[in-house]
Symmetry: C2
Subunit: 94 residues, 2 copies
């Protein structure tokens, strides 16, 4: 499973929250990104918000939300039925 589409995007899945916090911090510190996008869908949306808030409040206090986008994606289920799933994109920047 691809965890990243581009270097400054972190996709949230089912790992523990802190492993995504580490991924975001790595992007910001080691790779010198000044903006980071945190993406999630479905139940992982709550984790995405937790990750953004932990990074912002505990680790990189100059970060602010540059953009917050909410949407819906259509997926195909096992029996070709259509499923709608909510998505969130959180852009944090300095």
């Amino acid at each position: 499973m691809a965890e990243r589409a581009a270097d400054n995007v972190v996709f949230i899945g089912r790992k523990p929250t802190m492993s995504y916090v580490m991924a975001v911090l790595t992007q910001l510190n080691d790779k010198g990104q000044t903006e980071i996008k945190i993406r999630a869908r479905g139940k992982a949306i709550s984790t995405a918000v937790d990750v953004a808030e932990i990074v912002k409040n505990r680790f990189v206090k100059e970060l602010v939300y540059k953009d917050i986008k909410i949407g819906t994606e259509e997926l195909e289920g096992e029996n070709k039925e259509k499923l709608n799933v909510s998505t969130i994109d959180l852009v944090l920047g300095k």
Copy 2:
């Protein structure tokens, strides 16, 4: 448990998603609100996003996000320890 602080606020908890969709629609239709705030914290954040997207995409298509706020609240746990919980406020309006 108080489910509503004010008439145009719907707090998301552990009920099925569609019961909150109905609550939002009731506010918008019966009570003539032109703006509605959907609030949630912790794991219910994903449900809040689902509720907003379902209302917006399936029922009241002229709604747009007027505001999206993300934050952190400090709660006191059972043993008086401090717990941080993420929050979301979604404002939908016509």
